[in-house]
Assembly symmetry: C2
DNA sequence: TATAATTTGTCCGTATGTATA
DNA sequence: TTATACATACGGACAAATTAT
């Protein structure tokens, strides 16, 4: 994006990661950021708003914009659904593709994905590990009419990154339902756990900016490893 | 709040609940809302932004602001941490107070709550049921220096509502960590489940607008009943 | 298929209010 | 009390995506 406030948001986020601001534990004032980036106050405020929504900072009226020092290590920030690679660094995440095939949506799947029955859909089962530890078994479905091409090579990496960067499609929003369940034999074996143990489950529908569903997925998480983080503001 | 954009947000949210807009499945255009509420475009856009963050609508450039028709029945919207009563309607939620006492924060609790060791803290254990079904066992700690008075009467209802409406304190933001765990004997008995079964756990720290922690709580949810909802937009 | 109209998105500037230091 | 710093609100101009013509 060459949108100013997003660029500025990224810039400041990078500064935070690199420990600038660590002395004061807060950002420069809006006035200072206006000078620094040579933009209007509104644009700075939109950038700060983005940082706030991502959970990186928290503005306090009359006082300043403070760093929200919450350890995100080994946690999935529910505001960032860019997949695992974003949160853990690409090199720590390994992916084993257990299944990759093209199927036709049956009635039930078609309803969930808001498409016609019979629509061609990629089905993918993956086991993803972080630093060698099994982390999540993912069952995902991609509408081929929206994501026309996937390969085992792509599926081994970050599918979302491929969609954004190669296909140049804009992901718009995601519905996520989080529950706990009981591991079945297959998932337990994949995760190195025992059937009957708990699992942390995330069921997701991802929409393009135009409002159509391109991905439906069920993520069975290793409950010993997974933490979801929700850093929210009072609305 | 008599802040314009929040009032307008509430008004529109009410309209949505009451099924106005159900024919078109979208809101009136910004232009129409400007006329209707007699405010500036910015103010309307801030109201829509709020509705978007709450997961009620989704704006699509060039097309309109569409209703996000996700069933929130029996689900906890992670954007609304007003406690249970908000999501389920006051009359369906019943509360059993298992413990209510004033203690002093030990070192560990003091660190989590960012207060001095020895700070007086209310400790409360509650079982909350929805429509008669055990829903969650809550263990919560309230800093008495910030919440100077609590009673068993108050604790039987919505504590957050009391803080907002009676104490007139503004809740600023909340950190929430969601995990899955294994039920111990006590929690299982309370929830009408069996020890060893899964639980869906939410560990929370709530801050006032000034940035201080007033509440730390651990919620052990009935995994058969609880769904967390996260309706997010791509940031 | 191409153009125009509609509708939301970005960006600028200014003024005033409110909470904190 | 005063100054600082974020919050609310108004106004205008142009861009970008979608929809209608």
């Amino acid at each position: 994006m060459d949108v100013k406030y997003k660029v500025i948001c990224e810039e400041i986020a990078k500064n935070i990661r690199e420990g600038l601001y660590q002395d004061t534990k807060k950002l420069p004032t809006e006035e200072e950021l206006i000078e620094q980036f040579e933009v209007s106050r509104n644009t700075i405020r939109k950038a700060i708003d983005l940082l706030t929504r991502k959970g990186l900072v928290i503005p306090i009226q009359g006082s300043g914009v403070f760093l929200r020092s919450v350890s995100m290590d080994g946690a999935i920030n529910l505001e960032d659904f860019h997949g695992l690679t974003q949160g853990f660094g690409e090199n720590h995440v390994t992916t084993k593709v257990n299944s990759f095939k093209l199927i036709e949506a049956d009635e039930k799947l078609a309803q969930v994905m808001q498409c016609e029955k019979g629509t061609p859909v990629y089905f993918i089962e993956r086991l993803r590990s972080v630093a060698g530890v099994p982390y999540v078994v993912e069952y995902s479905y991609y509408n081929r009419e929206l994501i026309p091409y996937l390969s085992e090579e792509i599926v081994k990496g970050s599918i979302y990154q491929y969609i954004r960067e190669e296909l140049k499609k804009s992901i718009g929003f995601v519905d996520r339902v989080i529950t706990a369940g009981i591991l079945n034999e297959h998932d337990a074996r994949e995760l190195g756990l025992t059937p009957g143990e708990p699992s942390l489950i995330s069921t997701n529908r991802a929409f393009l900016k135009s409002g159509v569903i391109f991905d439906y997925s069920i993520d069975i998480h290793n409950y010993k490893e997974t933490k979801f983080l929700k850093l929210s503001n009072y609305l």
